[in-house]
Symmetry: C2
Subunit: 296 residues, 2 copies
């Protein structure tokens, strides 16, 4: 261990886009001495080692976390509880345990179910970053640059653990904020889970349209961008929908109601009302993009 | 007039992204001798002249089309009929009259209402290209490169006129196909008008959410791409919704029904059914992108 590195031994469970990019970013920043990768698939881990993303790997989570001062679990939400059960009793007392899950209440529930009493080092987190690609080959060190990470500490989370988690993400280039898990899940349902459901839904709807082949033939760049997120990992998104189902269902119902009103405006040919909605949406979206670009 | 140029005098009515890019592309290809721009706003036309997009301009459509062998009307759909009325009686007998409107049945209806008997040179068309930007400043000569243009000739359209319209778009780099106006409107409702309505609708819905500011604060790249088309020109899209209202309303209703089923799956926590939909959508979307990239 050098005197300087923020993390001595980083253990990444689930070495895909999210976990792999974090390891790369921390290495790049000189913030980690050693990276241990863990997952169910030895081939993937071997590729991660060959790519220099991890130094060692094992398929045994209990073994992987032993001696690690930072453990980051980046598996699909449906696999969280199983991982927590496997590492229970093997974490060092001063280890931080955090994760990259896109829904937070379910991760906390899984941790409670697996650990009973939550470890003081447990700090749930969510890096709001990603692409429609997945897997360690898609990982890159700049993924978190200027991106948001939301931490949702629980009552049991120790201050030192929250602090180290925050410093880790900052070292990876991210801007870190905290909020409650429930609030996180509401916000992400709106900005991420709803759009993903809509995009998957649109491609599915169109693929069952008459003359489907032709429809895609005449689709262009707008459609490509609109549906980019429908190329995301289906298992990961199944799990997100299940894990955040209440907030997502509320968002879907709300959107559907608005869509029915929009459909009525189209049917009635109410140009003034349609123009109002479009003007307002354009202004709001243009402001959002300016905000996003400001961050960079 | 040179011996070579496909078009002697091109008249573009509505010199924005679509009309401006066509003029630039044809100039770049050496397919036009002279470009006359026309619009309601003299300032815009002056900028178009300064940018070298048009050689001359006038705000009078009747004057603009005089002596032109190719007239392309690129105004919002709601302004088509007015333009047709203004140019009636001023077109040369051998002039082609085409347009860039995103809905085709309404353009044909407007032309019938304005002209009575349709000119033999009338060939409705739709270049499937564009960006969320608008205006002549956003125009560029490669906009139509490898893009589709759909022509929807009517019974009155002369073969020479269809042929010259096709050659014009090919000179601009596009691939040209023909179909009926009704079929065009159905296909475009699905691949373009529906996604635009959904994107405008989503931004509008979220902008009226509690804690709206924060919601946009935590939105990321996926959201930016999904809503890119919500930065499109509101007046143009109001007109498209009105002009293709029946096909769009059908598409919206169909999508809404599917969305209600998806919401029920989320509420029920039916992971298998959700994964099926997402897998299928991802496979279809990945195939679409491969197809799109093939064209380039």
């Amino acid at each position: 261990m050098t005197d300087r590195a923020l993390i001595h031994r980083l253990c990444v469970i689930g070495v895909g886009l999210i976990g792999g990019s974090l390891a790369r970013a921390l290495r790049h920043a000189g913030a980690v001495d050693q990276v241990v990768g863990c997952g169910r698939n030895a081939d993937t881990l071997q590729r991660a080692e060959a790519l220099g993303v991890v130094d060692h790997y094992t398929t045994d989570p209990a073994h992987a976390v032993t001696g690690a001062d930072m453990v980051v679990v980046c598996v699909p939400l449906g696999a969280m509880r199983g991982v927590f059960e496997q590492i229970r009793g093997h974490l060092a007392p001063d280890a931080v345990l955090t994760d990259g899950g896109s829904a937070k209440a379910s991760v906390i529930e899984d941790a409670r179910a697996a650990f009973g009493d939550l470890p003081a080092g447990f700090v749930p987190g969510h890096p709001i970053a990603g692409t429609e690609k997945s897997g360690v080959e898609a990982s890159f060190s700049r993924l978190y640059n200027h991106r948001r990470v939301i931490l949702t500490p629980v009552a049991e989370s120790a201050e030192w653990a929250v602090d180290r988690t925050r410093r880790m993400w900052e070292a990876a280039g991210a801007r870190v904020t905290s909020m409650s898990a429930e609030h996180h899940d509401d916000v992400l349902a709106a900005t991420s889970h709803l759009p993903h459901a809509l995009a998957f839904g649109l491609v599915d709807t169109l693929s069952r349209w008459e003359g489907e082949q032709e429809i895609f033939e005449y689709a262009a760049g707008g459609f490509r961008d609109f549906t980019r997120i429908a190329s995301s990992d289906p298992v990961m998104w199944r799990d997100i929908c299940l894990s955040n189902r209440e907030a997502l269902a509320r968002a879907l119902r709300r959107y559907t109601e608005d869509l029915q009103r929009l459909t009525e405006l189209v049917e009635r040919g109410d140009g003034a009302a349609l123009e109002d909605i479009f003007q307002h949406a354009k202004a709001r979206r243009d402001r959002f993009v300016a905000l996003l670009e400001d961050k960079h």
